[in-house]
């Protein structure tokens, strides 16, 4: 649907913003390494889609275990989105995950320059 201006959007539509498929991730809040929780396999598919987990591991193999692969994916994601790299599913990280976004991956072949500038700044600062 195309709305040509804000006033043409039905009020009901404004009130109950369509819940996206990713809203279910919010129930994983607080999970960390060693946990097993229903839905972690879907979160791994999410991270695989955006390049944080190597696509060689097919979605069918993803388990609901919070393993080291997931932890490092979360840390890389947190760095790319300027979040504290806790490696855990804390509230700020989950809030970011559920936001609508571009379908292009953030990382390709496990590498990402997305936050290169910040790294560069850190290197320069360290050099100083």
């Amino acid at each position: 649907t195309f709305y040509t201006n804000v006033s043409s959007i039905p009020t009901l539509h404004l009130l109950n913003a369509t819940r996206s498929a990713w809203e279910t991730f919010e129930k994983l809040a607080g999970c960390h390494v060693g946990d097993k929780a229903d839905g972690l396999s879907k979160l791994k598919q999410y991270f695989s889609r955006f390049g944080y987990i190597s696509s060689s591991s097919s979605a069918a193999n993803f388990t609901d275990d919070f393993d080291d692969v997931l932890k490092s994916a979360i840390s890389a994601y947190q760095k790319n989105f300027n979040l504290k790299a806790t490696g855990k599913l804390d509230a700020p990280t989950l809030r970011q995950i559920v936001r609508p976004r571009c379908g292009n991956p953030d990382m390709v072949d496990g590498a990402s320059e997305m936050n290169a500038g910040r790294k560069l700044l850190r290197t320069v600062a360290a050099a100083r």
């Binding site: 195309f2 609508p100 379908g103 320059e113």
Partner: protein, 187 residues
């Protein structure tokens, strides 16, 4: 800013790019104008030019709205979630999720248009995806157009310094550097 692996870009001999819309979407002129504005934001700061074509077969860039699995191995996921995706140069593939509700607004500024909503600003997404079509990857700078996420109700259409530096790394400024300095793009 970042690039696709190998930093692909449109070749020097092909800086006047054409774009066309998938006919079966039957888009109105009003919707097509949104994309024309989005292309202009990038042509303003580079030597690139964009012209609309009526033939998807001859155009460098093809734009279409599709729902769910649409045959490119990257299915869309219904309302919200992934909004659109685009290929790196010189492929020219630009797909938007047909299950989204899109807002067409001519507002010139970046700002929050509405409280939480599932209506997404079409021009904001178009400017971002055109960045990919020209060779830019994602950026961690939240003000940047190439930042991967946007909330329903937000509008972000002005190129930030990060976007301009990235695209001019690939194409130069086409003698428009003065314009880009005065364009007041979001810092």
């Amino acid at each position: 800013y970042s690039f696709f692996p190998g930093k692909p870009r449109w070749p020097k001999r092909n800086r006047d790019l054409s774009y066309a819309f998938v006919p079966r979407n039957n888009l109105t002129e009003e919707v097509k104008q949104v994309f024309a504005r989005a292309f202009t934001r990038w042509s303003d700061v580079t030597p690139l030019n964009f012209t609309r074509s009526e033939s998807v077969f001859k155009a460098d860039i093809v734009i279409g709205f599709f729902s769910g699995d649409h045959g490119d191995g990257e299915p869309f996921d219904g309302p919200m979630g992934t909004l659109a995706h685009a290929s790196s140069p010189p492929t020219g593939m630009f797909h938007l999720d047909g299950d989204e509700d899109w807002l067409i607004s001519g507002d010139e500024t970046n700002r929050r248009i509405m409280p939480v909503t599932s209506v997404v600003d079409l021009e904001s997404v178009a400017v971002h995806e055109i960045g990919h079509l020209l060779g830019l990857g994602h950026s961690s700078v939240e003000d940047a157009i190439m930042y991967p996420a946007i909330s329903g109700g937000d509008r972000k259409v002005e190129l930030a310094k990060d976007d301009i530096e990235g695209i001019q790394y690939l194409y130069g400024d086409g003698g428009s550097s003065r314009r880009s300095e005065t364009s007041g793009g979001a810092e």
